[in-house]
Symmetry: C2
Subunit: 360 residues, 2 copies
């Protein structure tokens, strides 16, 4: 004969994927009824619109079905009252709640100071390479006025869903979690004409109010410049370090050095330098054409005392794939070794200097 | 016999190039002494460090020498007292004084939203082409965190000089006046880690406190993005219009459209679109390689209802010249026609919405 106690013990092993506590502890399991080999109970969710609803139900059913003697499990759903929700989500109207339930091992910012050197491309390919190695990976697009990440990863328009804890990132086809202002705009061409404080606020929300869950690596794609966005990321997010991206383009070296100086001033380690657009391979002759002039990255890496992680060519194919939301189809062998090198040297995240949940 | 009256009348025709008033009216001419064919007088300048000192002396001498019977002119210099200066420069400690003495016919902002598409290059080449047509041209580098203009125009480090009215821009070898934060920094690699309000303040100073003098065209080089710098330029400067720069690079079209939308929202006309990095010419085969994928600018120009002003190739030579401060040595024939088209359609500056001199 099955007891209610047995059923509850089984459900204690099922975790709410967001709240990271078991269903019984959360007070979600109610009205357990047992008739011979049939078990029925009510599952009280924080919201019936919960996008993870099906997963929770499936896991709860499986756990009870695993009990000896149980042949059938019926689950009825209900929604918690505001009062009940408040008990388990102490201040669920406050910003930064999601942050407390996220567990992010490494946060790597991709930065260059100068625009158009392929920062977003490097951020995207880095995420793809780490994902291919089996890691849980997210990308926080901190470029609020020129967000490029969603276009690379999604062939069609995507909308993030909400959950009681915050906003759920959108998952790419290989399971990379993406959050970007462009996922929240009416149209991707819409301009975000915001001064600094709003830019900083959005980035803090992407850290504190997004349900990233468990991540091995969160890649942060920074906009060009050393103003609000970069300052906020370096001051408010617990960075493992920064990857600098440069190109042989005139002036890039100077502007990238400004970015390097900023990381030094803000005490964030530089993990390495990547040079993009180093050359084009002529399809007819196979020769390397240095269309932006000769490479300066080896010299720059020495001047900055950082490793040169790699030099990437301009490839028309990658532009096409990125435009079609298919960056994950690009082989990018050269990136696998870069990602492995970074994974080796990435330190776990440091304590944030100004924890986001305590600021507004 | 020459009279003091004649000397004074001659000097009434000499203007102070900054204050735009004649030397006599400004009270600069003192102690006129005449001995036969020899004239001596004291010239009281606002500052003996005045960088235009030699020009003023030369013009004053020439004016007096032109009088019948004058064979020799001797000028002694002195500096006005603080009280005297105050009389002619009513609030010379207030910001925005220079603005009242500048006369700028057209202000054209070069914008793209996206970084690295060659905005600064287009701004620089546009200035060079307009200068070659005989116009008086200045460049205001509004990219405070990633300023690229000085490196293009000056082979060696330059420092702007001060004058009683404000900061004097640095002149290039063909006479283009340049102001950029990089001219004011200790080292060009120094990072400017400023949040938005300081960025906006610097741009307003470059407009209000720089002695541009008489200009036919002031080209404003905007940073990427649609945040503080772009907002300040569009709201505080009397723009004739905006030139949009794009490239066939993946995602550029989307981000440039955001920039276009911003100009519409802020009621600033778009004068045209320029596509940069359209192709590379293979030095061996002479074939055009579309290394960033096929051009999208014709379609984009139609969508935005603006003229496509030109398509520029990637040229390794231009990168080298820009890096060496020798952009003015680049022939840039394709730019001559672009500059002429722009000169035709550029409207004189509009009234600023928020005059800079009245804001702080």
């Amino acid at each position: 004969m099955i007891t209610e106690e047995q059923v509850r013990q089984a459900l204690e092993k099922v975790m709410d994927p967001e709240l990271k506590r078991d269903l019984v502890e959360l007070g979600m399991v109610r009205n357990v009824e047992i008739q011979d080999s049939q078990v029925r109970f009510i599952l009280a969710l924080t919201t019936l619109a919960c996008p993870l609803k099906d997963q929770i139900i499936a896991e709860a059913k499986a756990a009870v079905l695993a009990l000896d003697g149980v042949k059938e499990v019926e689950v009825e759903l209900t929604e918690m009252s505001a009062e009940e929700k408040k008990r388990i989500l102490p201040d669920h109207d406050q910003p930064g709640v999601a942050e407390r339930f996220n567990h992010i091992e490494h946060v790597i910012a991709v930065m260059s100071g100068k625009g158009g050197v392929g920062k977003s491309l490097v951020a995207g390919l880095l995420a793809v390479a780490l994902r291919r190695e089996g890691h849980q990976v997210g990308i926080l697009d901190a470029d609020i006025t020129g967000p490029s990440i969603p276009r690379m990863f999604f062939p069609t328009r995507q909308w993030p869903k909400g959950s009681p804890l915050g906003i759920l990132p959108v998952e790419s086809k290989t399971g990379i979690k993406v959050m970007s202002i462009n996922l929240l705009l009416h149209s991707e061409d819409q301009a975000v004409i915001w001064r600094g404080p709003l830019i900083s606020g959005a980035i803090k929300q992407f850290w504190g109010d997004v349900v990233w869950g468990d991540l091995d690596y969160l890649i942060v794609d920074l906009p060009p410049g050393t103003s609000d966005a970069a300052l906020t990321v370096m001051q408010s997010l617990p960075l493992s370090g920064v990857v600098l991206v440069t190109s042989p383009q005139g002036l890039a070296d100077m502007v990238v050095k400004k970015a390097a100086q900023m990381t030094v001033q803000l005490n964030v380690p530089i993990m390495g330098l990547i040079e993009n657009m180093s050359y084009v391979v002529c399809p007819d002759t196979g020769k390397k054409l240095e269309v932006f002039g000769p490479s300066k990255s080896a010299v720059m890496a020495k001047q900055l005392y950082v490793p040169l992680l790699g030099q990437l060519p301009i490839e028309p194919q990658i532009a096409e794939l990125c435009d079609a939301g298919r960056i994950e189809d690009y082989p990018a062998e050269e990136f696998a070794s870069i990602a492995r090198k970074l994974a080796e040297i990435a330190l776990p995240v440091r304590q944030p200097m100004f924890p986001v949940s305590r600021t507004k």
